[in-house]
């Protein structure tokens, strides 16, 4: 279970308070009781001296054999054996009319020899603390103290920590909002708490480092692709010149054509890489309201030759308009890549269904029955099982275009034996 930091500390604090207060209460109780008995006992011993003195002066006091208002009694010793002049202190309960119940008393028992040389028992009592009441009261007081403490800590947490952690929540929100190279939407973190400032600084530094590495890599890909263009141009054009030679044999010419065709794949790969870096560098800035319905209409006629060559039926079902604000070139690339994909992985005599609804486009195609990995098909250079001709970048370009516009999303699923790509406008 996940708990917020402030509740997390509160949980441990309340347990700690409970233990501390319990131990403290036990010790406190023991000390208080010790002190109380000590005082009471001293009082009783003092009274014993006073009583004995009085008895010597007024022997008629020996007749006091009941606790009356005197709080002592003197009884003659019947049996010599249990006589002792030692002080015995004890707790006993006596009936108290005021409370109408038995109350605890401290009792001092001792023996003495009266002036007539006979031994007497002397018992002196005094009312003392009611231990159970004391415990009850003490416990109540401590429970109240405990609750007040926990509540206090909770409130302080709520008020102080909420304030103190505010920058942290801003940092979290910023991390959530952060998109590569885009920092405009982020709130500045202004706080005098050192740790949060450090955290924010470190995160910014990390972003910067990552962006630098990424930019460098992007530049590298772009430069590499550019640098390849000229040598490719030279090689392809020289091959073309060679192929003009009328005296070439079939096998020579075929080999030249094969080399040229391989180079063409390299050129296409290069173009795709450049396209990707251009999309990622946001070089397609010109954004207009685009009707995907129109683009689909235009593009489907461009693909007619390929469709009829592979004997594929194309069904376009229009149930609404899909308008989106984006760059026209990118829209064309997006739709043609989806079409190209649907044709390339189709079977002879297969079918493509294009379904357009408001803010929703489905491109479904027949093909082999292997369900594609929807996590990976949009990755660069992810290749399915049986295509050697694809450069593995077509869907990566689609994804990259879709990612350029936050309101668009693309997904893949396998449904009714067809591979379905769905493009959606969320907002």
């Amino acid at each position: 279970m996940q708990v917020s930091l402030k509740n997390y500390t509160l949980r441990y604090l309340s347990i700690a308070f409970l233990i501390i207060i319990t131990i403290w209460a036990a010790l406190f109780y023991a000390f208080i009781l010790e002190e109380v008995y000590d005082n009471v006992d001293d009082g009783l011993k003092n009274q014993k001296i006073l009583i004995l003195r009085e008895v010597y002066e007024h022997p008629e006091l020996l007749e006091t054999n009941k606790y009356g208002i005197n709080q002592f009694r003197i009884t003659p010793v019947g049996d010599e054996d249990d006589f002792s002049e030692e002080n015995y202190l004890d707790n006993e309960f006596f009936y108290m009319p005021y409370d109408d119940e038995m109350e605890p008393y401290r009792v001092l028992r001792t023996g003495f020899y009266a002036p007539d040389q006979k031994p007497y028992h002397l018992e002196i009592r005094t009312s003392t603390v009611e231990e159970d009441d004391l415990i009850l009261n003490l416990t109540t007081a401590l429970i109240v103290l405990y609750l007040v403490l926990v509540l206090g800590v909770y409130l302080i947490n709520e008020l102080v920590l909420r304030r103190a952690w505010r920058p942290f929540r801003i940092i979290l929100e910023n991390l959530n909002l952060y998109r590569f190279g885009k920092k405009e939407d982020l709130q500045p973190v202004s706080t005098n708490i050192v740790e949060f400032n450090q955290l924010d600084e470190e995160i910014n530094r990390m972003w910067k480092r990552n962006e630098e590495v990424f930019d460098e890599q992007k530049r590298f890909i772009e430069n590499a692709a550019h640098e390849l263009q000229t040598p490719l141009a030279v090689t392809i054009n020289k091959l073309e010149m060679l192929m003009e030679d009328e005296s070439l044999t079939e096998s020579q010419l075929t080999q030249l054509a094969n080399s040229k065709s391989s180079l063409r794949r390299l050129v296409n790969l290069n173009k795709a890489l450049l396209m990707l870096s251009r999309i990622e560098n946001k070089q397609y800035k010109d954004v207009k309201r685009i009707s995907l319905n129109h683009i689909i209409e235009e593009i489907s006629s461009d693909f007619q030759d390929f469709l009829s060559f592979k004997d594929i039926t194309l069904e376009i079902e229009t149930h609404g308009n899909f308008d989106v604000s984006m760059n026209k070139d990118l829209a064309v690339v997006l739709i043609s890549n989806l079409f190209r994909n649907a044709i390339r992985y189709n079977i002879k005599g297969g079918k493509i269904i294009v379904n357009i609804r408001q803010n929703h486009l489905l491109v479904a195609n027949t093909g082999n029955q292997v369900i594609l990995n929807r996590e990976k098909i949009f990755n660069r250079f992810h290749k399915g099982t049986q295509d050697s001709q694809s450069n593995g970048l077509g869907l990566a370009i689609v994804k990259s275009i879709v990612d350029t516009y936050p309101e668009l999303s693309i997904d893949y699923r396998f449904e009714k034996n067809m591979h379905v790509f769905s493009l959606e406008k969320i907002r």
Binding site: T230, N237, E240, E244, E250, L256, A257, R264, Q283, D305
Partner: protein
């Protein structure tokens, strides 16, 4: 027809030069900004092929200098960058076309022919081979006096053969020139065969004297 190639890559310059000379053009070359500027200032060309990155300057600068002289030479920018900005800038400075490296020589030739034709004011120039006449402005094809109805792709295909009759046109060049990027989806280029077949059938039905000759599995020639 005189063509100037301003290109610092010697190999590419050579291959373009010998190809265009094979197509009966008079070709001069310049390998840097200064020599390019000197040639442009002193001579007139029907077409100038300008590379963007040059030692000592850029093709864009050369282009604006050229226009400052008040010259109207047709210019095709040939660049390895293929970026939208370059294309827009070049066309704004008055370039007639923009060709990204690498290109097919057949494509280069088609572009040169198109812009030279557009610049010359001698009315419609038909391209003729045997009894087939092709009118690029109207996208019209005549066999003798009969008009042949061709769709867009068939017309483009025929155009590529007509500008280089009796020469080998490879399937890869055709695919790229006519179908552009869409072509890379086709694993083999067999679909071109069915297009050629359609075109041949249409020309045959008008008793055209021309025919397509397959050159092994590599491409076709218009004969």
């Amino acid at each position: 027809m005189k063509v100037l190639i301003v290109e610092d890559e010697a190999d590419l310059c050579d291959v373009m030069k010998s190809f265009l000379e094979g197509e009966k053009y008079i070709v001069e070359t310049a390998s840097d900004y200064a020599s390019g500027l000197a040639k442009l200032a002193n001579y007139d060309y029907d077409c100038v092929l300008l590379d963007i990155m040059l030692p000592g300057g850029t093709g864009m600068q050369l282009l604006s200098e050229l226009r400052k002289f008040g010259k109207v030479d047709s210019v095709i920018i040939v660049s390895a960058k293929d970026s939208v900005e370059d294309k827009v800038e070049g066309l704004e400075l008055g370039a007639d076309d923009y060709l990204a490296k690498p290109f097919h020589l057949a494509e280069l030739l088609a572009r040169i022919k198109t812009i030279i034709r557009r610049k010359s004011h001698h009315g419609e120039q038909a391209i003729q081979f045997k009894d087939v006449k092709l009118f690029p402005e109207e996208r019209k094809v005549l066999v003798g006096t009969d008009e042949v109805q061709l769709n867009r792709k068939e017309y483009d295909l025929l155009y590529y053969f007509m500008i280089r009759p009796e020469k080998l046109v490879t399937k890869t060049s055709l695919a790229e020139a006519v179908w552009g990027d869409d072509a890379d989806q086709s694993d083999n280029l067999d679909f071109i065969y069915s297009q050629i077949k359609n075109l041949r059938r249409k020309l045959k039905s008008h008793q055209a004297e021309v025919d397509f000759q397959a050159v092994y599995g590599v491409g076709y020639k218009l004969v």
